[in-house]
Every structure is written in C-alpha cells, then in structure tokens.
Symmetry: C2
Subunit: 369 residues, 2 copies
C-alpha cells in the first residue's frame, strides 16, 4: 500500500496547510514533527515513550544503519518496524547528508559518492541505485532520493553542479525503485532562487509522491533560511507533502509551516536534552543551573508530560548535574513532548482558521523572535 | 513509625529465613535485594520501572548525596521519598565505605574521618554524630552506623583497630540518633573469627533494630568470604534483620541466604547492564557479541520482563554495540528484574521448605559454581 496525502484545511490568510499522510503504519497528521532515531532508537527513549509523546512518524538514518547493524540484518527482521518494535511511520533519509557531514574523505562523481566510515575508516560507495536498494531493505514507509549536498559558502559552481547532479540522481532513484514505499525527491540549489526553481521544476516533472527541501539549516544565517523558505515551498505541487529536512527550532518550524511546509525532522529536542537543555514555552533552559537547586514546581508549568507531573525542578537539576542517565531520559521525553504539543497546537490553529494570529503571538513570546 | 521484623518461615534443614520487614514505606519481603540508587536514582531506570521489577527497597549512598545535592536540599523536599518520588523503602549507608573506596586523602581518627571529595577535592569530615544527622535529614527508612572500613590485606592490627573503632562509633551513632528511623549496626572484623565474634557481641549489646555484616566482598578470595559467611550471621540475634552489604553475584546471594542473611544490596545488576552484560539463568552474557547480530528470540527465554518480551537479541546487540542509552535501559531493567525474580524464587523455596534442595540445584547450574 503506497502512501496518500490529503489536505483538510489551509490558512485563509496564508500558506499554512493541515493534512493527513496515510502510510502502511498509520496516519500522520501534518504539519508533523519526526524525532530522529539515528541508529534505530530515538536516543534515551523506549518506543512506547516515543508513542506517548504523540509522535506518529520518526526518521532513521540510512548512513548509520547501513554501517551497523547493516541493512541485511534489519531486513531479516522485517525492516525497521520488526527490528525495533515501533508501530508508527518511519522515514529514512538517503544517507547523502550524513556522508556530507560525518564521513571522511568523501569523493563525489556522477556515479555516486565514495566515503570512509566514521567508525573504522572502511571505504563504501552510495549510488542512487544502491541508496535506494538499501532503503528498500530497511523498509521505511517513506524513503528519500540520494542527493549531492553542497554546504553553505561553497562556490556557486559547486552549488549548481550539486543541484543538477541531485536531479539526475533522483531520476535514477525513481527508475531503480521497485517497492511500494513512497520515494520523495529533495530540492537543492542553495540560496539561489533560480537554481531552486530549476530544481523544483525538475523534481516535479519526476512526479514523486512527496518532496523535501534540502540544503537549509547547514550553517547559513537564519535570515537566509527564512528568505529561501518564503518562496521554496510554493514551487512544489500543492497536492504532495512537503518536508523541510533538519529544521529545527520551534520558531523556525512555525515560520516554515507559515510558508507551506508539512513535515519536519530535527535532532534538537533529543540532542539538547542529553546536554541538559529543556525547550519550554518560555525559551531554552539549562536545567543544570544553581538557581534550580532548591526549586519546587514542574519544569514547565504548562506541560502535562510525565517529567513535569512527576518531579520538581530541583530533582531534575540534581540528575543533570550528576550526569545521570535519568536526566537524559526525563528531558528527552519532555522535549519531544513539547515539540509534539507545539505541532498539535499548530494543527488546531490551522483547522480553526487562526494560524496567522496564533503564530504572531507565538513569535512574540520567543526570546529574540 | 519504626520498623518491625518478623520471621514467617525458616528452612527446616538449614539457616535460611523468610521474613517481613515492615517500614513506613511498605513491607519488604525478605530475603530482599536492594538495587543501588547511588545519587538518588537507580541508574538508567525511572522509579516506576524500579517498582515494576518487584523492588521493595533501594539503597542510596550518603557520601554521594551529602556532596550533591546536599542533605539540606533533600530534606527540603521531605527526604529522599519526596525528592525522588519513590514510594518504597529506602536504606542509606553511612558513607564509611564510600569514603574508604572513593574519596582521596582519607584520614581516620577516633573522632571521625576526614576526606577529600572525589568531585572537587574539597575537604569534609564525617563523625558518627554528623553521619547520623546527615542520614536523618536524607530521611531513609533504615540508616546505618558510621563504620571504619579496613580493606582486605591490611595489617591485622589495623583490622582490629577498625573493628573496635566501628563499635565505639556505633554507640555514638545510637546516642546521637533522634528520629524514629531504624538505625542498623555494622559488624566488622575482617576475616578473623574472634574479631567478628567480639564485634557481633558488642553490636548486639547496643540493642539495635537490625545488623549488617560489612567488610566482605572487598577484594578477598571468594572462599574466604564463604568461610566468614558460614559463621558470621549466626552471631547476630535471630529476631533482627541481617543485611550483607555489597554482595553480590546471584550464587553468593544464594549462599548467604543459606547462612541466614535477610537483606542484600549490590551494584552488579545495574553496573553490568551499562557495560552490556546480562545476568541470565544460564550465566553472564555479553550482549554485544557478533554471534547475536542476527539472533531472533528473547534475551532470556525464561524471563517475562519488558526487555525479553519486546525485543529480539539482535536489536539488543545492535543497541549495545552502538552504545545507545536504550541498551543501558533495557539491560538494567532486565538485570534488576532477574535479581528480583531470583529473590522471589528463594522466598518461595523457603516458605515451602525446599530451599536446601532448590539451592543445590541452583548452584549446579552456575558456571564454575
């Protein structure tokens, strides 16, 4: 069964969309946030806890899972669902971004990308065909075309070449793809509008069931990202889900929803939690603060998650200060819960035609927003 | 409300005892195993999970909690129960053993022990009076007399002096103690039977509500520990709970129960779990083994814990190999569950008068046992 996508509401004064992505593993209400489960685990959480946060879909990283345990192992257990026990939706990225950001000695040709494992330096190659096949064996509901990732600040020529190569690779991924998993394309083109237009047009011509915007949140100034977001989503067909890869902070998600984005993933809520940072309705808080040593009351008074309803701030501060695993657990649960509560609030605001007003209010509460 | 202790069954052919320790925080069925919650958390578990394993009482370390967050903070939240949210029994050690094993530049006099924090080198002193007061403020159900700990291999003169000093300190702890928490004495004396007899007689004369055997499992050959266990518990009054500190492996617990011990604590199930080792009915297993990479089926086929009922061995192996927090979580839950299942089996065997036969069968299954 392939995926289907339907829009149930759009913001009357803007581009925000409320939709439903139906997958073989349940309906994903959009705009949706996917926590990152890099190595087939959302770090510090059980899968029951992931579900408890309201998460309907997670992202897993092909690069990591290809290296270990290997897609053959995952396939033997019926794909990521059977291997992990997670019953909701799964999306795998293509590995392109991780090769760009993690691997050593990356070498890209028109054929594919050769790289050294960040674990042991062993040499590997992803081609559009092999990356697609690997993701087919990992068995996610949504898989991504291999893309050639150029970073912020690289020469214009390299940005353009990476965009064209990503387009050619997407056609090869589509042709190689044999399962009924939904294959999404990734629009590239850096911060150059004509390149983004060309990429989006080329991707649209491939008639894929969904599209991602890649190459944002790669170190550029935030204004540049917001400028790109202002036009990039609308270049994509309105009846397909739009996924903004690797973004981000709550205020960026709200801005991207306003620009017509439907899906998000980001490591921030889980990574920050492991460093002792909570994302709250009043901004980011370092829990390991001397000022919290004797604080009674919950982490976030507005939150009903198990962390906020079970423990005073002083206990969380003690655990974070002592670098206890329970601190990572409780803060990860809290942060992911916060993101999913935010997404629920966003969806309700769109449904009720008041997203514009709500988002203006939200932005006014963000420090520096 | 002070504690009370009653024996409900004894092994007809031996010294094993089945009892109930009633505390302000519930009944603890004995023989009982207390997981260690050093810094007011059983590492990697929530308190709900600790309860799920069947745990009725935990141990927390006074040395660690005195250093951080400080007993004043814990007291402000109503003691360890209020601070952590744990509703079962709590026992705090006196700090003597941690000062011996962790602190730097330890200096013991008749007055007390001065030491440097292993965190920041700051200087601190525990006296019998201050260690008692600190434990009163931490608010555990059972607290321990400060003892002078001598290690295996120290000169006989030092072993004897430490025993006498521990006895004198126990009297001072008893005199200083003002709450209705149960204060247990700790028998010392190394591996010297006359010293152990003198210590036990002196402790018994103090008429404390319970007694521990300290100074075992400190690096000595296992035969020496078993030799001491053969006579040391019987030196203590039969109507008081007997607690063997810091022991240990499942086979040691079974041997100690056979010698008349009622209570145990040990870091092994939690510490080993974080290193990827599972304690199973078939011995210790390193979960991060290539031979498990494709293994279907549960960690321990005899176990009904969430880890064994939710995940195949291959997933656990992958998580342990990738050093994921979820590996520590799932293995800790499993290991503590295993210990509590063992204690339940022991209690039932004593109740039904078949502990001797059961323990012989158990020992025959232990590799090298």
């Amino acid at each position: 069964m392939p995926i289907s996508f339907e829009l149930s509401a759009t913001d009357p004064g803007g581009l925000a969309r409320r939709g439903r992505l139906t997958t073989p593993h349940g309906v994903i209400d959009t705009p949706a946030f996917m926590p990152v489960g890099t190595q087939a685990t959302v770090k510090a959480l059980t899968w029951d806890e992931v579900a408890l946060t309201g998460t309907q879909m997670v992202l897993a990283n092909t690069y990591h899972l290809y290296l270990r345990p290997g897609e053959d192992v995952v396939e033997q257990f019926g794909g990521l669902h059977g291997f992990t026990g997670w019953r909701g939706g799964v999306l795998t990225d293509s590995g392109g971004f991780q090769v760009y950001s993690l691997a050593k000695l990356r070498r890209v040709t028109d054929d594919g990308v050769t790289f050294q494992s960040h674990h042991d330096g062993s040499s590997h190659t992803f081609t559009p065909e092999s990356a697609t096949r690997t993701q087919e064996r990992l068995g996610a509901d949504v898989i991504m075309c291999l893309d050639d990732v150029a970073g912020y600040g690289e020469p214009a020529q390299r940005i353009e070449a990476a965009m064209h190569r990503s387009l050619a690779w997407a056609a090869r991924c589509r042709d190689a793809h044999v399962t009924d998993q939904a294959l999404f394309g990734i629009v590239q083109g850096g911060f150059d509008e004509p390149l983004r237009r060309e990429s989006a047009a080329g991707m649209t011509a491939l008639d894929l069931p969904g599209y991602a915007i890649g190459g944002l949140s790669v170190g550029e100034p935030k204004e540049l990202m917001l400028e790109t977001l202002a036009y990039a989503p609308s270049l994509l067909p309105p009846d397909r889900p739009r996924y903004l890869m690797g973004v981000g902070w709550p205020e960026d998600i709200v801005a991207a929803v306003a620009a017509g984005i439907d899906m998000f993933d980001c490591v921030l809520p889980t990574r920050l939690a492991r460093n002792g940072t909570a994302i709250t309705s009043e901004g980011r808080i370092n829990v390991d603060s001397p000022s919290w040593a004797r604080e009674d009351g919950p982490l976030d008074p507005e939150c009903a998650c198990p962390t906020c309803t079970s423990h005073p701030r002083a206990y969380l501060r003690h655990l974070a200060h002592a670098k206890e695993i329970l601190a990572a657990r409780l803060l990860t649960l809290y942060n992911v819960w916060y993101y999913q509560r935010l997404m629920r609030t966003i969806r309700e605001a769109i449904e009720e035609g008041r997203f514009g007003a709500w988002s203006r209010g939200f932005r006014s509460t963000v420090p520096g927003g």
